[in-house]
């Protein structure tokens, strides 16, 4: 997937592990592109409420365990897929962010077809430093994780491992990865990496 900078685009996916600041980044990127943005977490919550068997405690184990983060990503993949289809087909641009965005989305026929000519693009955020992730998680409260105790350190370490896995998955498919730091230039670097600068 090699985005053509002057091609029309309709979906920009921003993936990466939790704690790297994807939500803040997505809002800023969407602001620069002057389009709306959407959180995969909202799709996940809506699906769980509708009775879908999605692991509801993905932080309980390893990221690649049976009920871990990868399993959640795979469970919400059809929902992300239908949103991608809708926005490409209706020609309504949108930025979508979430740790549930897996590079393997591009293995799906309907996504691969629609991604031709850069209409669907993706970047994956990376933060190789567990200390920096940990500090960020402490700062923002880590989605329900208490204080900065051992749980949170474990959560940060696992987030780093999940990020490493996502990076490998992305690189294998030729999808760009972008380091979250330096923070001041992250939006510009995302726009450049996705061919939207």
């Amino acid at each position: 997937v090699n985005p053509v900078s002057d091609a029309e685009w309709f979906v920009l996916l921003i993936g990466g592990p939790s704690g790297v600041g994807k939500t803040t980044i997505a809002a800023q990127v969407a602001g620069r592109l002057d389009v709306p943005w959407l959180m995969v977490d909202d799709l996940r919550l809506a699906l769980i409420r509708s009775g879908l068997p999605i692991p509801d405690n993905p932080r309980a184990g390893a990221f690649d365990s049976e009920d871990g983060l990868v399993a959640v990503g795979e469970a919400v993949a059809p929902a992300i897929e239908v949103v991608i289809e809708n926005h490409v087909d209706q020609r309504i641009p949108v930025v979508i962010e979430g740790d549930g965005i897996l590079p393997s989305l591009f293995d799906r026929d309907s996504v691969r077809t629609r991604a031709a000519n850069g209409r669907v693009r993706a970047v994956f955020m990376t933060e190789p430093d567990p200390q920096a992730l940990h500090a960020n998680l402490v700062k923002r409260g880590a989605d329900g994780w208490r204080d900065d105790g051992d749980d949170l350190r474990w959560y940060a370490r696992r987030s780093v491992r999940y990020g490493e896995w996502l990076t490998k998955e992305a690189e294998r498919r030729g999808l760009p990865t972008v380091a979250v730091r330096p923070w001041e230039t992250v939006v510009d670097r995302i726009l450049t990496a996705s061919g939207l600068a």
Partner: protein, 227 residues
């Protein structure tokens, strides 16, 4: 991820303090354009209820959620004879879909309020009862939302066109389109009564060039009413 287990500190400064802004109304009223303007103008996330509806439809079968699949026998395939059915039955079908969509949106609202991340949620699947609802439907632990906070953090507006001909012209469809436009208009009139019953504001979409300011005024009025 799930919402925090500690109380919400302060609402983020989106507009005049809302964290969830629901834009309801019937199809063809101009909700999408308005919602995108509001979301982009404030930096809030935009949740289109249609995306949520289609996502749930994709991963469920008619056996699991018959009401959600009332209009389609397969993805993108209208149920045979659907547009020959009685108009009242069609409106009931839309209400059935909206009930499932609104239920799915409850934890989405809770997520944005508890995380203090503003969102505009838009769609004809938003029921006035959703806007009037208290946190119990939000799947949050007790005490996450302080008493009285929801009434201020959640606002709604329902766009409803009084003139059936205007809805028909805006939808611009063929022969079957007349049935669909009539259904959407009738659904709008049902929404109007529901909004009144739940004390939620209704705004007529026309004139379109003043819609944004009239909606912002209605939203601000709700804030004053909530105190």
């Amino acid at each position: 991820m799930t919402p925090p287990t500690s109380p919400v500190a302060r609402p983020a400064a989106a507009g005049d303090g809302w964290l969830v802004l629901l834009i309801g109304g019937h199809s063809g009223a101009g909700k999408s354009t308005l919602a995108a303007q509001l979301a982009q103008g404030t930096g809030a996330a935009l949740v289109e209820a249609d995306d949520v509806r289609m996502a749930i439809q994709r991963v469920t079968t008619p056996d699991q959620l018959p009401a959600l699949h009332f209009f389609a026998s397969a993805p993108g395939v209208a149920r045979a004879g659907i547009w020959q059915r009685d108009p009242d039955e069609l409106v009931q079908g839309l209400i059935g879909v909206a009930e499932i969509v609104s239920r799915a949106l409850e934890p989405v609202m809770g997520h944005h309020v508890a995380a203090a991340k503003p969102a505009v949620i838009e769609g004809d699947g938003i029921l006035p009862s959703l806007a009037a609802q208290d946190p119990p439907g939000w799947s949050l632990p007790t005490g996450v939302i302080p008493p009285g906070f929801a009434a201020r953090a959640v606002r709604s507006v329902f766009l409803i066109e009084p003139d059936a001909d205007v809805v028909r012209q805006r939808m611009g469809l063929g022969a079957e389109g007349d049935t669909q436009a009539a259904m959407h208009w009738r659904y709008g009139q049902w929404l109007r009564a529901e909004a009144a019953r739940h004390g939620q504001p209704v705004v007529p979409p026309r004139p379109y060039n003043t819609l944004l300011e009239r909606v912002l005024a209605a939203v601000a009025e709700r804030a004053r009413a909530a105190g």
